[in-house]
Amino acid sequence: MSQILVNGLLTGGLYALVAVGFSLVWGVMNVVNIAHASYIMLGAYITYWLFHLYGLDPFLSIPVSMAALFLLGYAVGSLVLNRVVRFGLVMTLVLTFGIDMILQNGALLLWSADYRSITPAYAGQGLAAGGVMIPYVRLAVFVLAVLFVALFSLFLSRTRMGNAIKATALNPFAAELNGVRIQRVYALTYAIGAALAAAAGSMVSVVYTIHPQVGNVFLTRAFVITVLGGLGSIPGALLGGVILGLAESLATVTVGIGWSEAISFTLLVAILIVRPQGLLGKRFFGGVG
């Protein structure tokens, strides 16, 4: 049983990192960013190719994938998304769905549907503690994921840019009156969201098998976690990630693994109805009538 809990916890850490960028973009820009799935996938491929072509350790390639996706995110945010944000959430949702189709199918053409994986020397090694196995890689992923989430939280509260992002999230009009350049904040927020997705993707590539659609499963998790934790809430994403990881893990041994997705999506709908601001979050946008 304790093994089940450890599994769930370790998975939950990664889920949290997957969700935090998604939650940020939704909370600040009011954009449900379907392309998040592709950014995770691209992060994973960058790490894969750096490992395979240059032998770069997957954990060391995280900054590279983050930087690359930051640039891509900034470009998409400023050139495409900013033009459509005012049309409202549903239009941007459809738009990012289109972007996601382009990136995923582009990756399919470039790299084929082949399954690929990274196996560094330390893969599969682990720590045995009282009959519970803690694989090093997954532990590292967990620690890094939590660290990223914490650093990001500091960035939001301690830097000028972070404060501008928060102000924009709370009230874009007021922020604009106070001299915040909304368009720039949006582009940056989107870029940061993409970079966080890339970090998650790099870690996904060490733990899982990668292919052009690898991001989709994580996107559905990000949905559930964001709703669970509250839009734009960073502690919420962390808590939501861990809760979902544990819930899935427990569902596997109780009702059967087949039901775990049905359960998490029923949970999603139920939380939306009962507590749309999430467990920890404030409601930034929309909500209940």
């Binding site: 009011n30 449900v32 495409v80 033009r83 459509v84 049309f87 409202g88 959430l89 549903v90 239009m91 949702l93 459809v94 738009l95 769905f97 289109g98 972007i99 996601d100 189709m101 382009i102 995923q104 199918n105 582009g106 399919l108 053409l109 559905t220 949905f223 559930v224 709703v227 087949g258 039901w259 997705e261 049905a262 999506f265 029923t266 999603l268 709908v269 939306l272 109805i273 749309p276 946008f285 929309g286 909500g287 209940v288 009538g289």
Partner: protein
């Protein structure tokens, strides 16, 4: 009624006759492949019209509406396979089951607005798909389920499904037309514009929203049921397919959400384009479709009907009054 509107009515009748002929004649002249392609267009036209009731009229982005397609499809499959139900009876039940499902969900889910509602519908679709997968004793689960064949010759089958889908499309589009001329349509448009204002004007917003979703779901369920019989084989991912759902949504937007004919135009356009793209770019088909989606959002966010209206006004010069053609949409 003055002379010019009589003239317009006459022109409308002629146009209607031409359109009707264009819809009825194809299966008698085209090959099996093209009949199948057009049957597919009609199916998408019906789905786009059905989602239009929610998206275009009520302004509720039911992005996961495909859940009723899957529900309808599986209702027909289970009834025909497990209970030897005749097809049309099963189809009717499929429409009812989907409608009732929406009515039950609606009371709770329609309290959500905008993206929250969208995401709830996506979640419902996913949860329902998983449920169908897990109820494998009834549905065959991940193994899928085989629906009995249409009993009759190939030609009869071709005609049957062509006219079945045509009938469903006309039913769906006709429903949108009727709704938009009626109190329900006005009420829904008021809800779309401002729900609070609508409610103090006497519109029972809760009932109207649930009613709209029930009708939309019922129509979508009927189309799903017909699809099950047409394809003769179902797996949950095929009929609870979120990509298909978004495609239908885009069709409605592209043609003009809220207009009567726009979504059908959008459906025909996108499906035909899809067919053509597919022929030219075997590998990159989905990629090109993604580009189309992005371009639509960037450049035609209010749809073709709105675009055509604006073009017509521009051509007619500034003197043309801003008259609504049919039911106007407003983002």
């Amino acid at each position: 009624m003055n002379g010019s509107s009589m003239g317009r009515r006459g022109a409308g009748l002629i146009l209607g006759a031409v359109v009707l002929a264009a819809l009825v004649l194809p299966p008698f002249y085209l090959s099996g492949y093209w009949v199948r392609v057009i049957t597919g267009l009609l199916m998408y036209g019906a789905l786009a019209s059905a989602i239009n009731i929610m998206v275009g009229l009520a302004g509720y982005p039911a992005l996961g509406n495909i859940v009723f397609f899957g529900t309808g499809a599986y209702t027909v499959a289970v009834l025909m396979v497990k209970a030897d139900t005749p097809f049309f009876l099963a189809l009717a039940v499929a429409g009812v089951v989907a409608a009732v499902y929406a009515a039950l969900l609606g009371a709770a889910v329609l309290r959500l607005r905008g993206a929250y509602f969208s995401i709830a519908t996506i979640g419902i679709n996913h949860a329902t798909s998983e449920l169908v997968t897990n109820l494998d004793g009834l549905t065959g689960g991940g193994r899928g389920t085989i629906v009995p064949f249409f009993p009759g010759s190939i030609e009869a089958e071709r005609m049957f499904f062509y006219f079945l889908m045509l009938a469903l499309m006309l039913l769906a589009t006709g429903t949108v037309y009727l709704i938009s001329r009626n109190r329900l349509g006005y009420g829904l448009r008021a809800i779309k514009a401002d729900e609070q204002a609508a409610s103090v004007m006497g519109v029972n917003t809760t009932r109207y929203k649930v009613l709209a979703w029930t009708i939309s779901a019922g129509l979508t369920g009927l189309v799903g049921g017909a699809y099950a019989y047409w394809l003769a084989f179902l797996e949950p991912p095929y009929v609870f397919d979120i990509v298909m759902s978004v495609k239908v949504y885009i069709m409605a937007i592209l043609g003009g959400a809220g207009t009567v004919i726009g979504p059908v135009v959008g459906a025909f356009f996108l499906e035909l384009l899809s067919e053509l793209i597919w022929g030219r770019f075997l590998e990159a088909h989905m990629l090109v479709l993604g580009i189309v989606v992005v371009l639509v959002v960037l450049f035609v966010p209010r749809g073709f009907v709105d675009l055509a209206g604006r073009l017509a006004r521009a051509l007619a010069g500034g003197s043309a009054s801003r008259r609504a053609e049919g039911v106007r949409s407003d983002g």
